[in-house]
């Protein structure tokens, strides 16, 4: 199973910078990220890291509420309709995506989609059954 690191953050100037400082010091590379905020002054930062365990430990040590969260990372062709074909499948399979973010992998002419869903094990199984290219943890962390 692959993991992202989710961090509870107050929505205040400077707070994201403190997180990136921790990661920089530990030489941890961010491959993709998404930042969402609630309307009550806080949000959650999701990070795809080259070493999620090390990153999560470093952030916890620095005092953050940070956690490893299971994700499924799938590959899609970098062309019009690439995401559509994937989403169409998810939609037919009745999968509700909680949070998702994408990034390009230009040298492969592809893109990846990071999926965070309620029943992530089930999503992983469905993706495998459908023959969608799923990245292994090592492939993800070495992107």
């Amino acid at each position: 199973m692959a993991y992202q690191v989710s961090i509870f953050l107050e929505n205040e100037p400077g707070h994201l910078e403190k997180v990136t400082t921790v990661l920089k010091k530990k030489m941890i590379n961010i491959r993709a990220m998404t930042l969402s905020s609630s309307s009550y002054g806080w949000g959650i930062l999701n990070l795809l890291l080259n070493d999620p365990q090390k990153g999560c430990d470093a952030l916890c040590e620095a005092g953050y509420s940070a956690v490893l969260r299971k994700i499924v990372v799938v590959k899609m062709p970098d062309r019009p309709g690439g995401l559509h074909d994937l989403v169409e499948y998810f939609s037919r399979a009745g999968i509700n995506i909680k949070n998702a973010y994408a990034t390009l992998v230009p040298h492969e002419g592809a893109a990846i989609l990071v999926v965070d869903a309620e029943n992530i094990e089930q999503v992983e199984k469905l993706v495998e059954e459908a023959g969608i290219t799923k990245l292994t943890p090592n492939e993800i962390y070495r992107l």
Partner: protein, 437 residues
């Protein structure tokens, strides 16, 4: 020695206790007359020991307030030449004069004995190693417990406040069995045990905790007991009544036995100054019965509590008071709602998803007073799920609204974002703009 520190005094019958108190009250009033303040007051009102026909006649005497102590600072309540006294304790006095209490040798011996009796009731013995984690100096919890534990005969470590790693090191080096600390510090100390990977049951000899000096809820006590895996006993005292050793829980934890041979206690309605019906909550008013240098008569403590009904299985006959439910002066009013911080705390303690720390901020936002409650998102519960957090926030809002009848704003903050609570925890920050003030 058996079950009691002083069986004769602790298990007196009601009539014996009343006779004892009456005798001590007459001595106290006669002593108090020697002080400039009470001497002048009694003369003006025509009061003296002759007025005391029975214990109830104490109601003829006026009450003493903190303001009286301040106005007659520093020597107005002293009954003897200053060189007959041997110690003083005083408050920080952030507003106006501090309040100061003088003691002679008898007073200090009497105080130490009451603390020893309290510790004994909670289960501490002369064979214990007692680590006193609180500020020494002017704060009465330091020297009060030091002399009390020494009087008990325990090996006493004057550890002082703070420096958690050193505290744990002391516990391990000397096999500490009993710790006294304020409750908010203990919850913090526990996190240091965790960080260091020290298992309390396996790696220490701790067997008993004494908590006090800071109002706390039953939920907070339970939480401390759960974390440490041992019992935590409630201690009550105030510097005007020496300090610790006024009322204390025995092994049954059924409320705090107030040492009635040394203090005469009344519970009054703070508005009418009349006694409340037995068992109802009101302000605790106390008279010292065994203090010579600076006796106080009917001192208004501002602490709210009630007498608990029934007998305690321990056999001690002194009445028990409930934990302090608030103070007549820490209540705050927002949008016409009277709120005690304890009400908010009680609710927050039911949510394991948030840490032990919280802060109530009162602010004027767009001309309206608002109660903002900041709570820390606990690392142990955070799962990276937005909906779970939003749901948590909404539940906290609803439960607090149901309790205090005002809708608070609840702000989730990062762990460690709130000020660390070192001494007495400051839980309320009033930033409101007082119109016309």
């Amino acid at each position: 020695m058996g079950m009691y520190w002083q069986k004769d005094l602790e298990t007196m019958t009601a009539s014996q206790l009343e006779a004892h108190q009456f005798q001590k009250l007459k001595e106290t009033v006669s002593l108090a007359e020697q002080s400039p303040y009470y001497g002048g007051l009694f003369k003006k009102r025509g009061l003296g020991t002759a007025n005391l026909k029975s214990l109830e006649d104490i109601s003829l005497f006026p009450m003493t307030t903190k303001e009286d102590l301040r106005e007659n600072f520093p020597y107005g309540f002293l009954t003897m030449p200053l060189n007959n006294t041997i110690r003083l304790h005083c408050s920080s006095g952030t507003t106006g004069n501090p309040t100061v209490i003088f003691h002679n040798r008898h007073d200090l011996d009497s105080w130490a004995n009451l603390v020893a009796r309290s510790l004994f009731a909670a289960g501490a013995r002369s064979t214990d190693v007692f680590q006193n984690i609180c500020g020494y100096g002017l704060f009465t919890g330091g020297l009060g417990f030091q002399y009390g534990a020494e009087c008990l005969g325990a090996l006493t470590i004057p550890a002082g406040a703070g420096n958690s790693k050193r505290q744990i090191q002391l516990m391990q080096n000397f096999g500490t069995t009993v710790v006294h600390a304020i409750p908010s510090y203990l919850t913090r100390l526990y996190t240091v045990f965790e960080e260091l990977g020290i298992d309390i049951a396996r790696d220490t000899k701790l067997r008993l905790l004494v908590i006090g000096a800071e109002p706390h809820t039953e939920a907070q006590r339970q939480r401390i007991q759960d974390l440490f895996g041992i019992k935590a006993f409630n201690s009550f005292g105030l510097s005007e009544m020496n300090g610790p050793g006024v009322a204390f829980e025995c092994e049954y934890q059924t409320g705090l036995h107030l040492w009635e041979d040394a203090f005469f206690a009344e519970i009054i309605n703070p508005d009418t100054l009349e006694p409340v019906p037995e068992g109802e909550v009101g302000e605790l008013v106390m008279t010292t019965l065994d203090r010579q240098a600076m006796p106080l008569i009917r001192y208004r403590t501002r602490d709210l509590t009630r007498f608990l009904p029934g007998e305690c299985p321990c056999g001690r006959t002194h009445r028990r008071i409930d934990r302090i439910t608030g103070r007549t002066d820490d209540m705050f009013i927002v949008k016409g709602c009277n709120i005690f911080p304890m009400q908010v705390e009680k609710i927050l303690m039911n949510f394991p998803e948030i840490g032990h720390n919280y802060l109530i901020v009162l602010e004027t936002i767009k001309g309206v007073d608002e109660m903002l409650i900041k709570v820390e998102v606990s690392r142990d519960w955070f799962a990276g799920d937005m909906d779970v957090l939003e749901n948590l926030r909404r539940r906290v809002v609803n439960e607090i609204r149901d309790e205090v009848l005002l809708t608070p704003q609840v702000k989730l903050v990062e762990p460690g974002a709130l000020p660390k609570q070192e001494g007495k925890a400051v839980r309320v920050q009033d930033l409101r703009k007082n119109e016309g003030a």
